[in-house]
Structure formats: structure tokens, C-alpha cells
């Protein structure tokens, strides 16, 4: 980072120096001095011209390198933090965490570094000018006042962005269903309204014209004070560096804090094989998640099932990295997974069908063989016969405790207990004969 700043300051100083020296050369030549009086200036003009180009190239490279190295460290740190947190944040919070990392790095490159460079160049030029008041005033406006005004109270776009993400995801994931129910156009109109609002709010305060006014205002004042021409031109060149700072934006980090997941007091006994049934919205998944939170991660509880954008094999091997091909094939046989082991499943498993995705997740949990097996509608997307068959095989294979959310009454015979969930506070645990 320091190297990037140093090279950047040198590059800008070379530019300002070039303008000042060239102006001095012309003004001095007009006085018709002997030729020798101009030699140094002529050499300086040529050197500075060459130096500026080379330094600018180096500055671009060093600054990007500095920010990218920080990215390596930052991503690693953020990941480690997530790996050790007590609770895993929700999907939205996770996406926001990634976005914040990217924004932080981008702001460093486009906001912090240019500002520091400009401020340091100003710190060099001000003493050289003999502390010219208009120059100091103008630089203060362009370096402090305008950037502050530009980044002050940024619009919080988080809620709008979150809503648009949600709406877009629904439009994409449920496109066919939405069209089937004739809701697509309606949902599209909703999303479009959000998009419009977001586009309007994204307008930033662009104070560039004010920065230009400060630049030339200071130059005119210096002109009125009869400052030397080279200094006035140097001042204009210095201000040129500060003008882009008036359009700075500093994105606000999106909130990633979440309330602690509520602990579920009525936890069913963790023994045998239990089915959790109940109407939609009765909090079955919440219960499952609450139990998952209470368990030691090492116990291998399975509630969240993310399918990674990689091969079927890698996705399944997560459960047991040292599994042999026989073990893999056995697990796949139990879950009736019929995918090629080397097939890439796509983003969130979108290259395979919903049922195949379910069976992939099931294969993984069979291979993991955890103490407590938690499954949320594990056979969703399979045809009824296959659903019952696969679930039976998975449960037969399970040595420990199993807790399964299901909607199919036909499957209840496979369990030792049935846990009914109605509206909050009305639980009933029954026993299946």
C-alpha cells in the first residue's frame, strides 16, 4: 500500500512539475537570457515527461496489487470468522458479507488511495508556493469540504437491493410456476417498480462543477495577486488531481447482524426415528434449525444442504473426504442417485433436476452417517413410490437418531415417533405402533 502511494505521489508530482517547468521555460525565454540559463529546464521538461508516463503505469499496477493482496487476506479472515461463529448467518447475511468485502476493496482502490495521493501532493505544493492563501483555501475545499459533502449521509440502498434480489430470485427460480398461475407479469411489474426506485436512489451527489469552480477561482485569485505564471499553472495542475474527488462515493456496508436464533424449548426427544408433521407455517423447519444449532457441529447434524458449484463427486465427498469408490457407490445406491460422478451440478445445483438434487443431498447424508440425522422434506421432488422407497432405505441405513420433516402420511409408518406441530404452543407427540 505504501509503495502504491509513493509511486502515485511521484507520478502526480512529475505531472505538476512538467507543467510548472514548461511554463517557467517559456516565461524565462521571453526575457531573452543566455541559452545556458534554459539548459536545466529543457532537460527537466524532457525527463519529467518521460517519468510521468512510466510512474503512472507503475502506480496503477502497485495500487491494484496492494488491494488484491489485501483481498486474499480479508477473504481468508472473513471465512475463518464465519467458520468459527456460533451461529451460521442466514443466506442473505452471507451474501451481504461477501458484498461488503468486495465493496471495501473497491473503495480502497477508488476512494482512499486517490485521496491520500492528492492530499500528499497538496502537502508538497503548498510550501513550494510559499503558502499562497488562495491555493490553500482552494485545496482545502477540494480535498476536505467537497469529498465530505459527497460521501456524507449516503443513501441506504440495502432494503431496496434486498427486495430486488428477492424478487429477481423468485422470477428466475419460479418462472414456470409463476407463468402457470398467470402471476409472472404481475411479479415482473413489482420488480420493475423496485428497480425504478433503486435507479432513482442510486443518483450520487456529483460536485465536480464546484471543484472546477474552486480550481479556477483559486487560480484567478493568484493571478490577481500577481503570482508567477509557473506557480499558477502548477496550482491548476494540482487542482486537476483533486477534481475527481468531488464525485467520490462511499458505499455503506450492508447490515449483516441478525438476531440470535430463538431457542426452541419444546424439543422432541432425540432418540429413534421421529417424523415431524404439521401444516405449512407451523414452524417445522424452524424447529429443525433450532435443534441443528444446539448440536455440536461434529455430530454431523444436517439441516442446511447447500449444493456447491462443482462435480457430484466433490459434493458428496464433503461428507467423508476419504471415502472409497465402493462407499460412494453404496451411498448412491441407497439414495438411488443416478448421476455421473464427474458431472458439474451448476450454481445451486441448477444443471440437475430438483429430484436429482435431493437425492444428491441424501447420498451425502448417507455417506456422512451422522449421530443425528436431520432432514427437511428429503424426498421432495421424487415421485411418491420412489420417495417412500428411498426414505425407507435411508432410515434403515441410519444407525443413530433421525428427525425428518415430511408431508407424506404414507411415510409415517417408517418412523418410531411422530411429532405433530400445529400453531405455536400446541405440540403433540404421538407414538406409531
Amino acid at each position: 500500500m505504501r509503495l502504491a502511494i509513493l509511486v502515485g505521489v511521484l507520478a502526480e508530482l512529475a505531472g505538476v512539475g512538467l507543467t510548472a517547468t514548461a511554463t517557467w521555460l517559456i516565461m524565462r525565454a521571453a526575457e531573452h537570457p543566455p541559452m545556458q540559463a534554459l539548459t536545466v529546464a529543457i532537460v527537466a521538461v524532457r525527463t519529467l515527461a518521460l517519468a510521468k508516463g512510466a510512474l503512472r503505469y507503475l502506480e496503477r499496477l502497485t495500487s491494484h496489487k496492494a488491494v488484491l493482496s489485501e483481498a486474499v487476506e480479508l477473504r481468508g479472515r472473513v471465512y475463518d470468522d464465519l467458520a468459527h461463529r456460533e451461529h451460521v448467518p442466514s443466506g442473505t447475511a452471507l451474501t451481504r458479507i461477501v458484498t461488503n468485502v468486495d465493496q471495501h476493496l473497491d473503495a480502497k482502490l477508488r476512494t482512499t488511495l486517490p485521496w491520500i495521493t492528492a492530499a500528499l501532493v497538496a502537502a508538497v505544493i503548498i510550501p513550494v508556493s510559499g503558502f499562497s492563501l488562495p491555493l490553500i483555501a482552494g485545496l482545502l475545499i477540494n480535498l476536505a469540504l467537497l469529498p465530505w459533502l459527497a460521501v456524507r449521509n449516503p443513501q441506504d440502498l440495502t432494503p431496496l437491493r434486498a427486495r430486488l434480489t428477492e424478487q429477481t430470485t423468485e422470477l428466475v427460480h419460479s418462472k414456470e410456476e409463476l407463468i402457470a398461475y398467470g402471476l409472472f407479469d404481475e411479479k415482473l411489474a413489482d420488480a420493475t417498480r423496485t428497480a425504478k426506485a433503486l435507479s432513482r436512489k442510486e443518483r450520487t451527489r456529483d460536485l465536480t462543477p464546484l471543484a472546477i469552480a474552486a480550481q479556477f477561482g483559486a487560480a484567478l485569485l493568484m493571478l490577481a495577486q500577481n503570482e508567477p505564471a509557473w506557480l499558477i499553472m502548477a496550482a491548476i495542475a494540482t487542482f486537476e488531481i483533486t477534481v475527481p474527488l468531488a464525485a467520490l462515493t462511499r458505499p455503506t456496508p450492508e447490515p449483516t447482524d441478525e438476531p440470535e436464533p430463538t431457542r426452541c424449548p419444546e424439543t422432541p426427544d432425540l432418540q429413534g426415528k421421529t417424523a415431524i408433521v404439521g401444516p405449512s407455517g407451523a414452524g417445522k423447519t424452524t424447529l429443525l434449525n433450532a435443534i441443528a444449532h444446539q448440536l455440536e457441529p461434529s455430530k454431523g447434524a444436517l439441516a442446511d444442504a447447500h449444493v456447491f458449484h462443482t462435480t457430484v463427486r466433490t459434493n458428496v465427498l464433503l461428507a467423508k473426504p476419504d471415502a472409497t469408490q465402493e462407499e460412494l457407490d453404496r451411498a448412491a445406491g441407497i439414495a438411488e442417485l443416478d448421476l455421473d460422478w464427474d458431472q458439474v451440478v451448476g450454481e445451486r445445483g441448477e444443471e440437475i433436476s430438483g429430484g436429482q438434487r435431493q437425492r444428491l443431498v441424501l447420498t451425502r447424508s448417507v455417506l456422512a452417517n451422522p449421530d443425528v440425522l436431520l432432514m427437511d422434506e428429503p424426498t421432495e421432488g421424487l415421485d411418491p413410490e420412489q420417495a417412500d422407497r428411498v426414505l425407507k432405505k435411508v432410515l434403515d441405513n441410519c444407525q443413530g437418531t433421525a428427525l425428518v420433516v415430511t408431508h407424506r402420511e404414507e411415510q409415517l409408518a417408517l418412523f418410531d415417533h411422530v411429532h405433530h406441530r400445529w400453531a405455536i404452543g400446541h405440540e403433540h407427540v404421538g407414538r406409531v405402533g
Partner: protein, 430 residues
């Protein structure tokens, strides 16, 4: 798609640049014109203010239009589309506000400067006229050399960048299997790889900027030094010398700014390149789908192969088949969201269905299975089974059951097949 009206505000800029250099040279060489200079600078600030204001409005309109376009044909990758719609589209702002105006100025201002200099000092004008074309020529050379590489790297970078999000989103699963710690090194390794790849891309990409910068600064040196020497000999008045000195950089400044904006707007241009071209309602009148037949003739989509089906008005069709038999693909196909993998045609009453306006489909859908008034509270992605079952009640005038895999075939409508679609599927190819 892109709003360009704000470019009109740029018209006075070349004149103001010339006037400002002229007056500054006059005042510095001891002449008059200080008040006029103040006025010109005031006007310049005003013009910039108007231009910026318009530019931001144009950018806002452009963003809205782009988002609408992306939402209308969202494709299949939700994550990608959501990123594009929320953040990606925002990247076109530098393109509209920065790059487009500079593109115009990079042509107009150098032209004005060279013309003015030709009257003041022909040597300087010729020097600039000869060095100016070097910038686009070198730029094009560097660009041609790097284009393929940049495009390739962009894809690689997107994959590497996407990895972090994928791993973070799956942290719960990784932790459940005790694999979170092990992934830590992979995250760092891939981020380091991302850095190396990006840097090697940038080393080449910044070369064009380097050429631009070098030609610009060198030409100032090349103009200023001879002018100074001629001034020394008394062959040139101070006013002209200063005018040449001030105008020479002005010829290169917009080009450099355009170069910088070109890089700043790279992502915006990528976004614009992704705008889906939709010819959905390309002037074809949708047939009356309450009366039209829908014909699938030898259609292949993914695992669904050589599928043929004729749907008569009033038919109720059950989609039956084991998991992975492309039921959802077929459903998606109906709305033209999937494209056929092999040559095949499907048509509606002899009109190519791909060009049929969606409104026509809605009408068909509306009379077949659209309980619009009671939208489902929850739309699971793979709920086709339940979706069908929900609407498969009672007997119907006719029904086609088709099942088996990988070849899904049809059978003649049979009233007996009105119960649960999975109960007695018969395979009877037409």
C-alpha cells in the same frame, strides 16, 4: 437502451477551452482580459454543471431500462441475474456519465485545438497533428493484442470470484460435515490465484494507458522546448508561445480522460453486452389458444428426446415421469424459456410458438389451469408433482398421460386415466 441526450450540453466546451487558453495567455503576457477570463471560467463551470445534471438523469433512465430488460428475460441462473440487476447495472453509470461524453470531447476538442494552433503556430499544430493519431493507433494495437486474453480472463476471474460466494453460502453445510476448517486454505489459495490472474491481465491491460500517457506528456515536451527556443531567438511573441503551451495539453487531455473512463466503464460495457435481445412480440398475432392446437414435433430438451405431442383445445395433460425425466424442462419449454438441444420444431396452430406473444399463452393458460384468484402461497421450485396433482381432480374431457424415461411418449386420450397420474401409466407410443 442508453440515453444520450446529455451529450448536447457538451457543444460549448471546445469554444470555452479555446477562449480560456487565449485569455490566460493574454493576461500572463501582460495584456488585458482578466474580467473576460473570469466570465469564461464562470460559463465553463455553469456548462459543466448543466452537463453533469443531465448526465446523471440519463444514467438513471438507462439503469431503469436495463433492469427492466434483465427482469423481463431473466434466464436460469438466479444468482447471476440478481447480482446483475442489483449491482451490475449500477456499473453503467460511469459509462453514461463519464465515458460517453469523453468519447465526444476526445474528437471535438483536439480538432478545435489543432485548428486554432494552425493559425498561431503551424509547427506546433503539425507536431500535435502527427502525435495525436499515435494514441488511437497504439491503443488499437495493444487492444487487439489483449482483447482475447482479457475476455478469457474475465471468465476465469468470474469463476474464481464466484467461488468465495459459493463457499460462504455453503458454510452451514461445510460446518455440518466438519469441513469448514479444511476449506480455509482453499479460500486463500483461490484468492491468491485470483490475484495472480488479475495482475497478469492488468499488466497488459494498462499498457494502452501507458502509451497514451507517454505520448501526451512527450508531445508537451516536444512542443514546449522548441517554442521556448524560438521565443529566445525572438521569432515568436510571448502571447503565442503561452497559447501553444496551454493548448497543447488540452488536445491530449480529453483523450487521456476517455482512456481512463474506458477502463472505469469496462464493467458497464460488459453489462450492456449482456442485455438480452428479446423479439418476443415480433409482430406475430398470437393465435386464439382457446381454439388452437399445440403441436410438439420431435422436440429435444436435455434428457427429453424426440418428443412429440398434440394438445387439442380443452385437453388436460398430466406430466408423469420419474425424477429427472425432464418434466420441469418440458414445462419450461412450453414458455420458450429453454431452447431445443437438437433440431426440432414445436408450433401452435402453425405459428411458431417462439414468436408468439406471451399474452396469447396467458389466455390459453387462463382457461386451462390458472386459478388466478388464488395464487399459491408458496412456489417450490420442483413442485411439479404437487402442482399437477392439485389441478388433477375429477374426470376430464380428455387426457393424455405420458411417462417413462428417457423417452417420454404419449398415448391416446383416455377418460379412464383421470385419477392420480402416477397410478397406471401406460406406455403406448403414438
Amino acid at each position: 437502451m442508453v440515453d444520450r441526450r446529455h451529450l448536447l450540453a457538451l457543444i460549448p466546451i471546445p469554444f470555452l477551452v479555446l477562449a480560456q487558453a487565449e485569455l490566460l495567455a493574454s493576461v500572463l503576457s501582460g495584456g488585458s482580459g482578466f474580467l473576460l477570463l473570469c466570465l469564461v471560467i464562470g460559463v465553463r463551470v455553469l456548462v459543466w454543471w448543466v452537463h453533469r445534471e443531465w448526465a446523471h438523469r440519463a444514467a438513471e433512465r438507462t439503469r431503469t431500462r436495463l433492469r427492466q430488460a434483465f427482469l423481463r428475460s431473466p434466464g436460469t441462473k438466479a444468482g447471476e441475474v440478481a447480482t446483475l440487476v442489483t449491482r451490475g447495472v449500477h456499473d453503467v453509470t460511469p459509462y453514461v456519465v463519464g465515458y460517453l461524453p469523453q468519447q465526444i470531447l476526445a474528437v471535438v476538442v483536439p480538432l478545435a485545438v489543432v485548428i486554432r494552433l494552425a493559425f498561431a503556430d503551424l509547427t506546433a499544430a503539425l507536431t500535435i497533428l502527427l502525435t495525436l493519431p499515435l494514441i488511437p493507433i497504439f491503443g488499437a494495437l495493444v487492444g487487439a493484442h489483449t482483447r482475447e486474453r482479457t475476455a478469457r480472463q474475465w471468465t476465469a476471474l468470474a469463476t474464481l470470484g464466484g467461488h468465495f460466494l459459493d463457499v460462504v453460502k455453503g458454510i452451514g453445510t461445510l460446518r455440518a460435515f466438519g469441513r469448514a476448517e479444511a476449506q480455509s486454505t482453499t479460500v486463500r489459495k483461490l484468492a491468491a490465484q485470483h490475484m495472480t490472474e488479475t495482475m497478469s491481465a492488468l499488466r497488459v491491460a494498462f499498457l494502452s494507458a501507458f502509451v497514451l500517457e507517454l505520448v501526451a506528456t512527450m508531445s508537451v515536451a516536444v512542443v514546449a522546448v522548441p517554442v521556448g527556443l524560438r521565443l529566445l531567438d525572438g521569432g515568436l511573441p510571448l502571447h503565442t508561445a503561452l497559447l501553444v503551451l496551454f493548448l497543447a495539453p488540452e488536445a491530449f487531455l480529453p483523450l487521456r480522460a476517455a482512456g481512463a473512463q474506458y477502463h472505469a466503464s469496462a464493467q458497464g460495457r460488459e453489462v450492456l453486452a449482456k442485455v438480452p435481445t428479446h423479439n418476443e412480440s415480433a409482430g406475430v398475432t398470437p393465435p386464439d389458444l382457446t381454439k388452437a392446437e399445440i403441436v410438439f414435433d420431435d422436440v429435444s430438451v436435455r434428457s427429453l428426446r424426440n418428443f412429440s405431442l398434440r394438445i387439442k383445445p380443452g385437453d388436460r395433460i398430466a406430466l408423469v415421469g420419474p425424477s429427472g425425466a425432464a418434466r420441469a424442462r418440458f414445462w419450461g419449454r412450453c414458455w420458450g424459456s429453454c431452447s431445443p438441444t437438437t433440431a426440432g420444431c414445436w408450433s401452435v396452430a402453425s405459428t411458431c410458438a417462439r414468436s408468439t406473444a406471451r399474452s396469447g399463452w396467458k389466455r390459453w393458460r387462463g382457461c386451462r389451469n390458472g386459478p388466478r384468484s388464488s395464487p399459491p402461497p408458496f412456489l417450490p421450485v420442483s413442485s411439479n408433482e404437487s402442482l399437477w396433482r392439485r389441478h388433477w381432480t375429477g374426470s376430464t374431457r380428455g387426457c393424455s398421460c405420458w411417462t417413462n424415461r428417457p423417452r417420454i411418449s404419449t398415448r391416446k386420450p383416455s377418460p379412464s386415466c383421470s385419477e392420480r397420474p402416477g397410478s397406471s401409466p401406460e406406455v403406448a407410443p403414438r
